[in-house]
């Protein structure tokens, strides 16, 4: 079936003339039409534009042009990535009718490579959540069990790829928002090094932590997409000048002799037994392939979660100050400016977004700034130093759980934000340290996928793809009626 193919397989089939890009897009639109009423992964489906873009790709191929493997391959974007003239809502009432006047750089680079956009994907409102339940447009369901969450905040992206409603998707990851959904939905997810991919045109949540990520059916696909979108961008002064890739070629690299660390602090009773067992099995597999697997310690790990929630919310309270009803987005009518701003924000933001703005504003407010915000910036240094020391000692990557459990039930953690935040315990340190991390599916427990996380050194994505390719299991396809 066309919709089951990976990027690599589809590129080969398109090149061989087995079917056209238009047929590939039509097959995906048909699948979205059939399945998405049950899953709610898409906020917007751009059917007409997708078919037109596919026909343009077919025309390029007919002219014999030299095409990217992504040319004509249907994909989708988390609805936080700006698309010129296509609604970009951030799953919020605040931006329900917002039509960006430009493309995000990451999407522009894909479009330039011939990628075909199927639509925009559901997420937690403004990327604030770990379950896609805070979306103003309804929860996305996990394709493996529709009574469970797909993870978050890029839950729509993970669910769409898992259910073959897109060949790959982009998400964003501030504290685990690409990796935890990849784990819950049984797909590959990469959060590259901070600065690896331009953030221009990506609606900001916490600017020192945000990074665009990729959800794909296997490591090679994720690597090929990263190679296309990574690199410096004059529109984002925090995009890094470091050389890009080659990532796809790295998938075939031998891992013999690589030193891989098992982080002692991430193997505790807080992690569900099936996940610890999967971790042990993965370590043995890598050792069997000639890697040197050793225990390492990151002593400040337990401070990462509170540090993350202070920094992320502080940056969010500042970033979200822009939603004032003046230039774009929702406006609540009122007879003076101040009242209009307060009414707009109170109406437009959901409960979790308001909670995080309150938390961040508190941490930055006079009298608490030193105790919370400044203190946390110092703790961030200590957390980053733990990682620096391990990588300087010669480790290529670290193997860890992605989250404490497999996908949890809808509503299970909704009323308990602190326990919901605990979902991010293995993923947030990576954002604080600005490092790359790759999640690959390795198996399942009672029908629910398990993905493990590989953390690399700064700009060390190649090692992640080399090791990830050896670890990833055959695709776990959900049984969808």
């Amino acid at each position: 079936m066309i919709t089951e193919l990976t990027v690599k397989q589809m590129a080969a089939a398109l090149a061989a003339g087995e079917f056209s890009a238009e047929e590939a897009v039509a097959a995906h639109l048909q699948r979205i039409e059939t399945l998405d009423a049950k899953l709610n992964a898409y906020i917007t489906v751009t059917a007409e534009q997708a078919l037109a873009a596919a026909r343009a790709s077919d025309a390029r191929r007919a002219r014999g042009e030299n095409l990217s493997p992504l040319d004509g391959v249907p994909m989708a974007l988390k609805d936080i990535i700006c698309t010129d003239g296509v609604a970009t809502t951030c799953a919020s009432r605040m931006l329900e009718h917002y039509l960006p006047p430009y493309n995000a750089t990451c999407w522009q680079r894909l479009a330039d490579a011939g990628a075909v956009l199927l639509g925009k994907l559901n997420m937690d409102e403004f990327a604030m959540g770990s379950s896609t339940e805070t979306s103003a447009f309804g929860v996305t369901r996990n394709p493996h069990d529709r009574e469970r969450v797909p993870g978050g905040s890029s839950g729509g992206s993970a669910a769409a790829v898992a259910a073959d409603m897109a060949v790959y998707a982009l998400g964003t990851d501030t504290g685990g928002s690409v990796r935890q959904p990849a784990h819950f939905c049984g797909v590959v997810g990469i959060k590259p090094t901070y600065g690896r991919i331009s953030r221009f045109g990506v609606v900001p949540y916490a600017s020192s932590l945000d990074q665009v990520g990729i959800l794909a059916k296997d490591c090679w696909d994720a690597a090929a997409v990263l190679e296309t979108i990574a690199g410096q961008d004059k529109m984002d002064s925090t995009s890094a000048p470091a050389a890009v890739g080659p990532y796809a070629a790295a998938c075939a690299e031998d891992i013999r002799g690589l030193r891989i660390g098992l982080v002692k602090e991430f193997i505790s009773d807080a992690i569900a037994p099936p996940i610890r067992q999967a971790l042990q099995a993965a370590a043995e597999k890598l050792a069997g392939l000639g890697a040197e697997v050793e225990e390492v310690s990151l002593p400040h790990s337990s401070y990462a979660l509170p540090a993350y929630y202070i920094l992320a919310t502080a940056e969010a309270s500042s970033n979200l100050a822009r939603y004032d009803g003046v230039r774009y987005g929702l406006r609540a009518e009122a007879d003076n400016l101040h009242e209009m701003i307060v009414a707009t924000r109170s109406l437009g933001f959901g409960a979790e977004v308001k909670r995080r703005i309150m938390l961040g504003t508190y941490a930055l407010s006079s009298g608490y700034y030193d105790a919370y915000y400044n203190k946390t910036l110092q703790v961030r240094t200590l957390i980053k130093q733990d990682y620096d020391e391990v990588f300087q000692a010669g480790f290529s990557c670290l193997l860890t759980p992605t989250a404490p459990t497999t996908a949890f039930r809808l509503g299970e953690l909704c009323d308990d934000p602190l326990t919901m935040y605990m979902q991010d315990i293995c993923t947030v340190p990576v954002n604080l340290a600005g490092l790359p991390a790759l999640v690959v599916p390795v198996g399942q427990q009672e029908g629910l996928p398990i993905g493990l996380q590989l953390i690399g050194c700064s700009f060390g994505e190649e090692a992640l793809f080399a090791v990830g390719t050896k670890l990833e299991c055959a695709r776990i396809r959900p049984a969808l009626a």
């Binding site: 917002y98 039509l99 006047p101 901070y194 600065g195 020192s208 004059k234 002064s237 925090t238 890094a240 337990s302 509170p306 540090a307 929630y309 202070i310 309270s317 009803g325 003046v326 230039r327 774009y328 987005g329 929702l330 406006r331 009518e333 009122a334 007879d335 003076n336 400016l337 101040h338 209009m340 701003i341 307060v342 009414a343 924000r345 109170s346 409960a351 308001k354 909670r355 703005i357 309150m358 938390l359 504003t361 508190y362 407010s365 105790a371 919370y372 400044n374 203190k375 946390t376 910036l377 110092q378 703790v379 961030r380 240094t381 200590l382 980053k384 934000p417 602190l418 935040y421 700064s458």
Partner: protein
């Protein structure tokens, strides 16, 4: 959970004013309760001695990123104004300020 109130009602109202947010009575009660438990958890950070540790505001060793000061394309005014809830001429229009 401790009986100690981390965030007082006055604090919460002050922060809501700073953030330009308004809450109903029920929302405020719920928000204070949840913020209290989150802030209590964050007290954990106070246990670490960070004397003499430099703060990290940014993970990349980038400073003073400059590019050539050359005129380029900018967003045309019509496109910049296209999402405005209200406009007049070439400007965003807002209700009276005082």
């Amino acid at each position: 959970m401790s009986e100690r109130r981390i965030i007082s009602r006055d604090d919460a109202e002050h922060v809501a004013r700073l953030a330009h947010l308004r809450f109903t009575e029920a929302e405020m009660t719920d928000c204070m309760e949840k913020l209290g438990s989150i802030l209590e958890y964050m007290q954990e950070l106070q246990k670490i001695d960070t004397t003499g540790v430099a703060p990290t505001t940014h993970v990349l060793p980038l400073t003073n990123v400059f590019r050539a000061d050359e005129p380029g394309e900018t967003l045309p005014r019509e496109r910049a104004l296209a999402n405005a809830p209200a406009r007049e001429g070439g400007s965003f229009k807002v209700p009276r300020i005082i």
